[in-house]
Symmetry: C2
Subunit: 314 residues, 2 copies
């Protein structure tokens, strides 16, 4: 577990780089589910996702010699854009290694924020090889998207804010990809309220965390064939033990249910959310009895969606 | 002009039926335009648009004998849904006359809220004939979508709230269709601050208000071939003199610019807005010098959009 005091320090550190995002509610959805739902809207965050919190918290702890070397990362999009937004303010062009099947809107978001994109194949072997080559050639500093204590501290600030805004939450549902957000959520929430229950929502098509917890050791993804481009990553070695020991459960969700929930949020709440966080509502809808009558927080992690290629039009 | 005291009374009357909607801002859009933009988000309003304010204010002033007769209206969608939401709470099924080219999402919205849809051709002659027939046959009370003092008072409550939330606005841009919202905006804003400037944003393809003000008398729409389904109505005789005498100008906008602005709002602000109010941002983008360095309010009137038929995918 990461100390709450470290997450509080992260919050002060990153304050000039982020928004305090609002919490929205929907009477229609509450009625549909018979719970009180609270949506923490990181889709309204700078760079379009919560990722700027961890990226800023890490970069702001690099010293000037490290910064001079430049920074590099691998990202499905949101971390790359967030890192680019942070370091371009410091006059640095980051290198972002991205899978060549990344949605165009996320590639554009990295470029618009000042990042330089280098392609890899959409698998871990290719990504790590290209990343290693760049680090060897350029001596750049790696800012990992999730397997780093500083990243987890940054992502933990979402729930620090959330529980100030909604102190009576009984349960929080967070998406799980590499585990930075979920482990940060756990560290903040459990420090503030031991009885709060935290669930992870994971696509069935990339269910490494579900299987890793079941077996007790990290398992690799058999496939990453999910619309949740933000949740295709492999669970990290640093988030894993935090999640394993503290999560109430990992709820795995079918693709169709993710898409239906995304459309439902767009239609009823009039906000744009990614499939990678619409999955939290799907997890609640498919497991209603777990949440019945409860005050439930949903972490709406991002809103970077390709408007020309929406899943219900395919 | 309508007295501010009447709009204040409307506000108390409709309070249990509406949300106080938030005001959002976007640093990226401010930077792009060199102004401070404030978005009054009635897309988050109950029923998905501001229309519930006027509908509630009117229905709540009907006596029990009038209510027993039933209510009828003609609507491009949002007023019909709003009226249905209000009167179904009173146990009444309203009749809503809708053009047969209305987007499906708006028809569904009327039905889901308890309204009964009767079709007309998409022109004023057909609409009025069918409406008259229904009133003769059923003796129902007409709740007009805009040409009614009670409706204008209700719509005026948007700006009563808006100027409490942002007291320093120098200019407000409102969409103009039938004129209920724009005339209500004028009555509230000018009563609270004589120097505030109010603009209407109107599609070039349905520019009756622009031409009516130019000529001094009400002109009819030559076409209503606009994506702004909420702005195809003919300016009403009650809103017209209020608008004519107090509006700073009517800014007419091309279809392409409306669609571009809609996409820009969705992408940068992550909120779902109709073309009928995205037109306010288009009006600012196409007339930047009018708004340069100013604090500008935009009335985001609704968010009922057919997600399966988005204009940038056509």
């Amino acid at each position: 577990m990461i100390e709450l005091s470290e997450i509080r320090k992260a919050r002060s550190r990153i304050k000039p780089f982020i928004h305090q995002t609002p919490v929205l509610t929907s009477l229609s959805l509450n009625k549909m589910i018979d719970s009180e739902l609270y949506f923490k809207c990181e889709n309204f965050q700078k760079s379009g996702s919560f990722k700027i919190r961890g990226a800023a918290n890490t970069v702001l702890q690099l010293n000037s010699q490290e910064l001079e070397k430049g920074v590099v990362t691998a990202s499905s999009g949101n971390h790359g854009a967030a890192l680019s937004m942070v370091v371009s303010r410091l006059g640095i062009t980051p290198i972002v290694v991205m899978p060549n099947n990344t949605p165009k809107v996320k590639v554009d978001n990295v470029k618009r924020n000042g990042g330089k994109v280098v392609w890899c194949e959409p698998n871990q072997v290719s990504r790590e090889k290209i990343l290693d080559d760049i680090i060897k050639q350029t001596n750049s500093i790696l800012v990992h998207p999730y397997n780093d204590k500083r990243i987890i501290e940054g992502q933990g600030t979402v729930t620090l804010e959330f529980l100030e805004q909604c102190p009576n939450l009984e349960t929080i549902v967070s998406p799980i990809g590499g585990g930075g957000l979920l482990s940060g959520t756990i560290c903040s929430a459990k420090s503030l309220n031991k009885t709060i229950k935290i669930y992870g929502a994971e696509p069935k098509e990339a269910d490494d965390t579900f299987r890793s917890i079941k077996s007790g050791t990290i398992q690799v993804n058999q496939s990453t064939n999910t619309i949740c481009d933000g949740l295709r990553a492999q669970i990290g070695t640093i988030p894993f033990p935090i999640i394993k020991d503290n999560v109430e459960g990992i709820l795995t969700i079918e693709e169709k249910d993710i898409i239906d929930s995304m459309k439902l949020i767009w239609e009823t709440m009039k906000i744009i959310v990614e499939p990678s966080c619409a999955i939290t509502l799907a997890a609640i809808l498919k497991n209603k009895r777990l949440f019945l009558g409860k005050k439930v927080g949903l972490i709406i992690s991002g809103g970077n969606v390709d408007l020309k290629s929406l899943p219900w039009n395919k």
